[in-house]
Amino acid sequence: MTDADAGRDIDTTEPGRAWTFGDDIDTDQIIPSRFLVSSDPAELGEHAFNDLRPEFAPNVADGDFVVGGHNFGSGSSREHAPISLLGAGIDGIVAQSFARIFFRNGINLGLPVLICPDADRIDDGDEISLRLDEGAVVNHTADERYDADPLPEFLQNLVDRGGLEPYTRAKLGTE
């Protein structure tokens, strides 16, 4: 799973609509179990937030962002959850905190995941963009800028190499 699999380039500096959610959004709510029979990003994307927020999938546009509260992506390990958001067109996720496996899956997939304590200042529908290198979220609607936690060096290195797959191919000499 790479940018190419998502069918588009990810550019987080380009403003997009913020879709905001609360605390403890678990992966069952991101992609309900009954849709896990598919691994296809586009098909999963059609069912992202299917039960929690049915208007999301039909209206989300490429380059939009998801904004969560605390503990975003908790529960099951299903990588279908971040993949469904990539498939739906999401270019990045900002949350006050992430559950461990979801955060890890984001790093491994090359899906930008930013921890931002002020994420709750973003309103649904705001235009935002992410500055990954600076560790910042820009809210164009509110004309505000929020600090985000920079990635630890080990993880930034993984992301810079394009995620875990390219990293592993380099290790195995199968590039």
Binding site: D26, S33, V37, D51, R78, A99, I101, L172
Partner: protein, 437 residues
């Protein structure tokens, strides 16, 4: 310099570096597991990274189960099952088919996990393996697919929360009640990125099937792992399963002066049966706060509480009785071996006579795909691990989580009932030997 936790010692051992909480390592993985839901994605990653010469680095310790949509609930699921079978056949992985059991139970029963093993599973409840002294942790399909090819994976060495329970558990209080209490106390994300270490005399006294419950639900407080330091009881259990008695490596024992982020201490005698109310496991309350809540469905099973000893407690309570009018009970054993034990000991007949439904081993009802999905307005009391909105079906349904004893007793009344109302049994592992046979 203070001492080390189990996680710090084990990840130092597996990485060859002397590491502490907060360090990043690449560590050698001993056992890798995936299943019919996370498997197909995992296989894509594996084949992407291995290029022209795909080969599993350790086929004997690569385990793939068909348990989540088992038996298949539709054509897509059935096709995924075939993908699993073909992959296992082509690369020589250890494959378990429909009805064999839930991944975590199969790995424990079949002796794949020994004390000190680093185990990754593309399933969040892979924390279960801490119940037999392994460092088990859930990962995504990209993690697993790459590790199948390399045998190693990156980890951040976690901080550790220690949970100590001293004394003797009172009647009606089981490991499930302990873990619901812990989750309620630290919160749904209270252990995120961290390991839960469980100890104290009450934990040491727990049989393995109960320790597995504590480890299994560590993820419900965000835990990366949930570990009970292995002891003689652990290796007795594993020897009985496999005929081989594994060693207890020194690195599975924490130092007395280990540097814990926090230590939560409980006196066993002061604890009571717990129920987690909808729609988050952290909503744990003493059972008396929810007594009288009307129930439509009772669910007995899952990787948390679907072992024979759990099911037997429910059977003892309802033996010779009928389920309360207006209720239904779905029973799903955690493995074929549990299913067989239920048959051999007459437990199957008890459930059928009481009006319950007994299904083949799998994950079905727990994750809301088939085998007992809830409708709008339905209220379920379950031995499961999650009660998120819509987890077992409709977003308008509600799930309460409790121990097998609480579920069994409540089945007789059709409402949440304090399990201490009746005399309850407590089972050690392998209680079945000689029972009813």
């Amino acid at each position: 310099m203070t001492g080390k936790t189990i996680s710090e010692k084990l990840l130092s051992e597996k990485s060859g570096d002397d590491v502490r909480a907060g360090d990043y390592v690449e560590a050698a993985v001993d056992v890798m597991m995936t299943h019919d839901v996370t498997g197909p994605l995992t296989f894509e990653v594996f084949e992407d990274v291995t290029g022209d010469d795909p080969e599993l680095v350790d086929p004997d310790n690569t385990v793939i189960t068909i348990d989540h949509h088992a038996p298949a609930d539709g054509v897509k699921a059935a096709n995924n099952h075939n993908i699993v079978r073909e992959f296992a056949d082509e690369y020589g992985a250890q494959q378990y088919d429909v009805g064999d059991g839930i991944c975590h139970q199969v790995l424990v029963e079949e002796g794949f996990v020994s004390p000190g093993d680093l185990v990754i599973g593309a399933d969040s409840h892979s924390t279960t393996f801490g119940g037999v002294g392994g460092f088990g942790t859930g990962v995504g399909s990209t993690d697993l697919g790459t590790t199948l090819a390399t045998g190693e994976l990156w980890f951040r060495v976690p901080e550790t929360l220690r949970f100590e329970v001293e004394g003797d558990l009172p009647d009606g209080v089981y490991a499930k009640d302990l873990i619901l209490k812990f989750i309620g106390d630290v919160g749904f994300d209270g252990c995120t990125y961290k390991t839960a270490e469980y100890g104290g005399s009450a934990v040491e006294a727990l049989p393995i099937h109960e320790r597995l419950v504590l480890s299994n639900m560590a993820i419900e407080m965000g835990g990366k792992a949930g570990i009970v330091a292995p002891d003689e009881r652990t290796v007795d259990f594993l020897e009985a399963q496999t005929g081989e008695r594994p060693a207890i490596p020194a690195y599975t024992q924490p130092d007395d002066d280990a540097d814990y982020e926090a230590v939560h201490t409980y006196q066993a005698e002061s604890l009571s049966p717990q129920v987690s109310t909808p729609s988050n496991p952290e909503n744990a309350v003493p059972v008396d706060e929810v007594v009288g809540t009307e129930i439509d469905q009772l669910f007995v099973g899952t990787c948390t509480n679907g072992r024979y000893e759990d099911i037997r407690i429910v059977a003892d309570v309802i033996e010779g009785e009928r389920l309360a009018p207006g209720t239904r009970m779905v029973v799903v054993p955690a493995s074929r071996s549990v299913y067989k034990q239920m048959m051999d000991t007459g437990v199957m007949e008890t459930f059928v006579d009481a009006g319950a439904i007994v299904q083949s081993a799998g994950c079905g009802s727990c994750f809301g795909t088939h085998q007992g999905v809830l409708g709008d307005g339905d209220v379920c009391l379950a031995t499961a691990n999650r009660n998120f909105p819509g987890r077992e079906g409709s977003m308008e349904s509600e799930v309460y989580l409790a121990s097998p004893a609480t579920v069994g007793v409540s089945a007789l009344y059709g409402e949440i009932t304090d399990p201490r109302e009746v005399e309850l049994n407590r089972y050690d592992d392998y209680v079945l030997e000689g029972v009813g046979a």
